[in-house]
Symmetry: C2
Subunit: 218 residues, 2 copies
């Protein structure tokens, strides 16, 4: 069942009458978030020790911190322009481009840090800078990703929940804090093609098995 | 078929197993956008004539302008903090609160002006200020509203299109530039209850008629 991605996409399109929709998270999936967080933390609070990026056991940034460390973490997250100044994750921009090339409808789907005064605007600026204006047009900023339509969500968050049952299948982008969880995952944009292909193929087969019971995005 | 809204909502919940989702646009529906635009335009470009708010025939802000006027309009739209400083539309905040009270899942759904450097963040700030942090959590910022799940979208835009076939029914919030179009509409938050009730009731009856063919949000 290991088909090439263009074949998978075209089979999906035949089954659903539309392109597959892949939602891609930003922080830590497209943007080197924690690296930037650690560097900013060390710059603003040089007297506080903080571990190098990539070793965090908990997705919760405040877990196990002293009060002073909690205050510092909050200050870093609220720093103006923080979310505009991250570098891209290796291979991420190329992967988005490759998805578009095979006919996937790619949308970015990202949660703003609400207390940061420039976060949401910085995210759009980042997308415009690194992926261009067309992807800024395809960016959805929301605290609740279950509100967004899609077939797949690629995210590093261990569990993505919200008001609705999600329509998409979650594919975890591997980080230290999600590495023990079961389910499909992508490791550093190395193996995204077969993983994505398999999930889309399963959704195609589900549509073929019971065409009337499926939500149609178009 | 004129049921009270709480009855309509509870019938909807029974049919779908979830609350109805109503998406509410911001500019000109919750926020007095054009009034603020005209005032800012007159402040920044006092030598240029601009009509009072409420008389625009075209949704397109640049239609029929001279080059100098186009330049001025672009400058106003890109003015930092422009989108944070609008007043609420009369009755809008109360209407959102009443929807929440009867059990509707209300989400705000708004398109950012991408070239304004603070627009997206200002929109979240506006929501936090006038509707509180829970509604900021329920705000979706996207250029393409067809990507968002919902039963109804309340919007002043004459035609709301995007990459997908929308899942929601469009209810127009009446303004000069959309007043000739057919379809359900709300006039200044006066008659929203019966209009919304009727659409939700139709969706309930559709679910009861063919439960298998409907997209399920939860």
């Amino acid at each position: 069942m290991h088909r090439q991605l263009p074949t998978v996409v075209s089979r999906f399109e035949q089954a659903y009458g539309r392109a597959p929709v892949v939602l891609v998270d930003m922080d830590e999936v497209l943007c080197r978030w924690e690296e930037h967080f650690v560097a900013t933390h060390r710059r603003l609070f040089p007297h506080l020790l903080i571990a190098d990026a990539g070793q965090r056991e908990s997705f919760d940034l405040f877990a196990g911190l002293t009060l002073e460390e909690q205050h510092a973490t909050a200050k870093v997250l609220d720093e103006p322009s923080f979310f505009a100044n991250m570098l891209p994750v290796k291979g991420a921009l190329e992967a988005v481009q490759e998805m578009l090339t095979v006919g996937i409808d790619v949308a970015l789907c990202t949660s703003p840090w609400l207390s940061n005064p420039t976060c949401a605007s910085d995210k759009l600026r980042w997308v415009d800078r690194y992926l261009g204006p067309a992807m800024a047009e395809a960016t959805v900023i929301t605290r609740d990703k279950t509100r967004v339509r899609g077939d797949v969500l690629i995210d590093d968050k261990p569990s993505v929940t919200g008001r609705a049952q999600p329509e998409w299948d979650l594919v975890r982008f591997t980080y230290h804090y999600n590495r023990h969880l079961p389910g499909p995952r992508i490791d550093g944009w190395s193996n995204w093609q077969p993983v994505l292909g398999e999930i889309l193929e399963i959704r195609t087969q589900r549509a073929q098995a019971s065409p009337d019971e499926l939500p149609s995005l178009s």
